[in-house]
Symmetry: C2
Subunit: 411 residues, 2 copies
């Protein structure tokens, strides 16, 4: 079955999707005065789907969103996102604050508060300053816009240690009419998503039922956010939220199969994978983008486990930072992944240089390896010689700047 095409919208944002409004404002949560509150709003009720962190300490906004999305899978109106405070490890008061945030936004927008989601990111273990949140919501409602710049403003307001916004939008030509899939995401540290990522809001005007929406989001997250890592730390707040206002004239997608579903899923996956790669490229202190491909695995799960073991190894990451082609650390990290590996069947490449095969080093040309590591994008491949499954994960290097950013995060 041929797949339907989609086209990337240059400089797109979440408001590239017709019918969505957004704003990003500063309300004093960040001591720098940078924007720290984003609002995304659809007057048309939306089908919603979400994926959340698997961390046992689920932040208050995660607990609130689970509850409200379960009650309103077809009539959500948007989301309030704040940066600067994660509202995590904050107990009952934190949950009340999340609920009050949604209620205040609903009130200001003239929709039920229970049909607004919330997300938070920032310091764990501090309460939300609700006076600032309320003031921010008032400002944001006033600033709501439909143009592409409104989405850009929202994408900036959700940043923490990110150095740039992450936004992707595509247009899909579907039978009956075109639709848009767009997304923004933030997150530069505490990135090792498991079932979801840090914060991401995805918008579409494709007509979509809740079940295929959730199925497509799961598929896209598994192919994107769940294949990246910055530091192996899975956050308490990870949330990916898909809002579908159904305003396009294309065929309604009512189940998780068939060509219309597949086309939507492909477009959503593209958006999520590009956002995920953008997160890694902007990983805290990153100077290299490292892709780790594991092929020849018995299962996809084993391939991912080996790839993540390599991608999370501080020794692999510091070697890439230092442009040191120390491939023995790649073998070592694969070896302690917990997956049963027969070294005599393994081959390892740095870029296109075969460095290890059949249990022996292959006499790597140091000059070629140095040239390869002088670039910003580095590819490592490990073939396990045990099967046919193949997974690629993306990560960044571990640098002095990562230590800088994280040694004094709260101050």
């Amino acid at each position: 079955m041929p797949r339907q095409p989609f086209a990337v919208i240059p400089e797109g944002s979440i408001t590239s999707t017709p019918g969505f409004r957004a704003a990003g404002v500063a309300c004093g949560l960040k001591p720098t005065g940078a924007p720290d509150l984003a609002l995304v709003y659809s007057p048309t009720p939306c089908t919603a789907a979400a994926m959340f962190t698997t961390n046992a300490f689920q932040a208050a906004p995660v607990l609130y969103d689970r509850e409200t999305l379960a009650a309103h899978p077809r009539d959500m109106h948007g989301v309030v996102v704040n940066s600067g405070c994660a509202n995590a490890c904050t107990g009952d008061r934190g949950l009340q604050d999340a609920r009050a945030t949604a209620a205040r936004a609903g009130e200001a927008l003239g929709v039920p508060g229970a049909q607004m989601a919330v997300m938070s990111t920032g310091v764990i273990g501090a309460y939300l300053p609700m006076d600032k949140i309320h003031a921010g919501i008032a400002l944001a409602v006033e600033a709501l816009g439909e143009g592409v710049d409104a989405g850009h403003a929202a994408a900036r307001a959700i940043m923490t240690t990110d150095t740039r916004p992450k936004e992707v939008a595509v247009r899909v030509a579907a039978p009956g009419g075109e639709y848009t899939v767009a997304g923004m995401a933030k997150g530069a540290g505490m990135i090792a998503p498991n079932m979801a990522t840090l914060l991401s809001v995805l918008t579409t005007d494709a007509p979509l039922d809740p079940a295929p929406a959730q199925a497509a989001l799961r598929e896209a997250v598994e192919a994107g956010f769940n294949l990246i890592t910055v530091d192996g730390d899975t956050s308490t707040n990870d949330t990916a939220l898909l809002l579908a206002n159904g305003r396009a004239s294309s065929e309604r997608i009512t189940s998780a199969d068939g060509p219309a579903y597949r086309a939507f899923c492909d477009a959503l996956t593209y958006v999520v994978v590009e956002l995920a790669k953008g997160l890694v490229r902007d990983g805290e202190g990153a100077s290299h983008f490292l892709s780790v491909r594991v092929s020849g695995a018995r299962s996809r799960e084993e391939a991912k486990r080996v790839a993540m073991s390599v991608a999370n190894s501080p020794l692999v990451k510091t070697a890439v930072y230092g442009r040191d082609a120390n491939w023995g650390r790649v073998a070592c990290a694969a070896g302690y992944s917990g997956v049963a590996i027969d070294p005599s069947g393994v081959a390892i490449w740095l870029g296109d240089i075969l460095v290890y095969r059949e249990g022996e080093p292959q006499g790597m040309d140091e000059a070629r390896a140095a040239a390869l590591l002088a670039g910003t994008d580095v590819a490592v491949r490990i073939d396990l010689g045990a099967g046919s499954e193949d997974v690629t994960v993306w990560t960044c290097d571990l640098t002095h700047a990562y230590v800088d950013v994280n040694a004094h995060y709260r101050s």
Copy 2:
């Protein structure tokens, strides 16, 4: 049953144990000219026990030692240890080189080569320069000494990025006569032992059969080396070797129970735990020694899993380095450990400061927390409120100096 006492021998070394000789020499494996080959020798045949890395890429010396110790559990004569080259990922040629090292040492000492063990540490994926190894063995045999300084020289020769040797010795008053338990260890990075640690040689003159020797070593390693981590990277070469020459007049220990076994096990455990803590204090770039205690766990395994998750979190480690009392990162790392945790039952302390309980932050006094983090030793405790198991693991912080050391390790 009262336990027998033991006394720490100040400035002890592996040659504090009667009947053991040692040497540490330079043979050109390290470009700096620092000592890089150690020899430990007992003219009396030794009962031997060992634990090895669980990494799938087992280094050649590990493969060789497994084989030779299985064949000679009661008549080993010593070990050759080189630093500067790990002889890992080196296939058949690496295994032949390990065997040739032992054979040459045996020849020079007048004992069968198959009764000598070997250990290697350094760069992975390079072959041993055998001409240098042979020259080093000749030098080391000539330099063999029985005094405590001979052990100190050996402890220096096995160092890589270590900044100081790690040595511990104790004397045990046993019925029938006293005996000594002594050990040395190296390792500053690629430290996350699993069933064993980086290189450690332990000597004793206690009369001991192979089965209780192995049981005691396993117990000591589980209580010591297996509870530390520097960077979560489990090496290809981890080896802990116990050599017991049986020259003391104390009661022979023939099984893994009874007071004589227990006394030996306590002394060996003390030596291994102190060496393990010494490894962490000298972790690559370390500026803080961090102990992570998890109490109230359903099982020891779950307690260790949560503690290791916290101890390996780059975000926890950089916060400790930056003296930032960012305890939310401790909760976060506990939460993604994979252990089922009910946050409402959890309490967290930084030193003696209760920072989180019953789902809520406890209003930490920042000045007290800052004073606590200004010291070099920091203790974190997490009570899971789910059971009665209790484990403490030890680690160090993640610093700019760790990145320095590892960005250009091979150069």
